[in-house]
């Protein structure tokens, strides 16, 4: 379904951070999101059992505790640790490049997509769009596998379901 829309916005720091987090979520393979928690839980169970059954000396106890800590790190890698670092680096990137981030006007219609700001203008037919991905709080328009345009969710009152 194709819908017409025109939005104009200046990305804020929270928009940029949210975009980076959702892009990372999009890029992460689904297998990793399943395998990492499973590996983490196995690690924690092994560490706990080892500590109960074979924790005879202080050195051994420290080894088992390290194993449990490693399990916790693996378990929370994609949900806590990676988002934490991505949000931090995205916020510092935004603050450093704030003067280079301009307001954008994006116009989508049945034939074309037009994006314009002070220095950059793209107007491409719909067939030139590689993919449109609608995340929770951001709409991504991919022009190729890497280059994309994003629209923060707050500027779209009702996120339209846009399919290529």
């Amino acid at each position: 379904m194709i819908e017409n829309m025109q939005v104009s916005f200046l990305p804020t720091e929270s928009d940029y951070v949210m975009m980076c987090l959702e892009r990372q979520k999009y890029l992460t393979p689904k297998e990793n999101r399943v395998l990492f928690p499973v590996a983490g839980i196995i690690d924690i169970v092994c560490g706990t059992l080892g500590m109960i059954l074979r924790g005879e000396s202080v050195f051994e106890m420290i080894c088992w505790l390290l194993l449990i800590a490693a399990g916790l790190l693996i378990l929370s890698y994609y949900d806590v640790i990676k988002p934490f670092f991505i949000a931090g680096s995205a916020a510092s990137y935004y603050r450093y490049h704030q003067k280079d981030i301009n307001s954008k006007t994006i116009c989508i219609n049945a034939e074309s997509i037009t994006v314009s700001d002070e220095l950059h203008r793209i107007s491409v037919p719909r067939e030139y769009v590689y993919k449109i991905y609608q995340a929770k709080k951001t709409l991504f328009i991919f022009l190729d596998q890497e280059e994309f345009i994003y629209i923060p969710g707050r500027v779209i009152e009702e996120m339209p379901s846009l399919n290529k």
């Binding site: 280079d100 950059h120 203008r121 793209i122 491409v124 030139y128 190729d144 596998q145 280059e147």
Partner: protein, 189 residues
């Protein structure tokens, strides 16, 4: 608008973009700092080798050290050979997935900025936004900005005189960002 210093047309081929993307990845992508990561695994591998040579036969230590040593060898190869090749393949995939990268662009190089434009796109970029300008034997790479971070110019599309002018201009205009990749010169007999 002031008259541009240089105007030329540029159309990239898949191999040129892939090579440009590989260099971009080495500079500021996943492959950045690969020497440090590879050397860490190298030293860990050496430590395992030392342990294997020093210790007497031990049924527990021997397989563990051997496995860690093999992993270290693989990781060294991964960071030095596999990762750059993966970046090149990714560059090829990006080029194939894009309709714009294969289009012909006209570049207008001005004193403080350049404009690249075609039927679909127009981009004005100031040199202050660029944090890396890399010149190779076949390409100019301009890395920077908040979007369209990698701009590749193929020397093939430029005449000899234009190429020298552009090289001289970038070297003069972006003193700290400019770097020329090393290449071996053949000795004259």
């Amino acid at each position: 608008m002031a008259k541009p210093i240089l105007t030329f047309e540029n159309q990239l081929r898949i191999g040129e973009y892939a090579e440009g993307y590989r260099l971009y990845d080495l500079r500021c992508g996943n492959s950045a700092g690969r020497e440090i990561k590879a050397s860490l695994f190298f030293f860990l591998g050496m430590a395992m080798l030392f342990m294997l040579m020093r210790e007497q036969f031990n049924i527990l230590k021997l397989p563990v050290c051997t496995i860690v040593l093999l992993i270290c060898i693989y990781m060294c190869c991964f960071f030095i050979y596999i990762l750059p090749n993966m970046a090149k393949q990714r560059g090829e995939r990006i080029y194939k997935s894009s309709h714009l990268l294969s289009e012909k662009y006209t570049f207008h190089v001005h004193q403080d900025y350049f404009i690249m434009q075609n039927e679909y796109e127009s981009l004005k970029r100031y040199y202050t936004e660029i944090h890396d300008c890399i010149e190779t034997d076949t390409l100019f790479l301009l890395i920077g900005g908040t979007e369209k971070k990698l701009i590749v110019i193929a020397k093939r599309c430029l005449e000899q005189e234009q190429c020298e002018t552009l090289s001289h201009f970038f070297r003069k205009e972006m003193v700290h960002q400019y770097r020329r990749t090393r290449f071996r010169r053949r000795k004259k007999k």
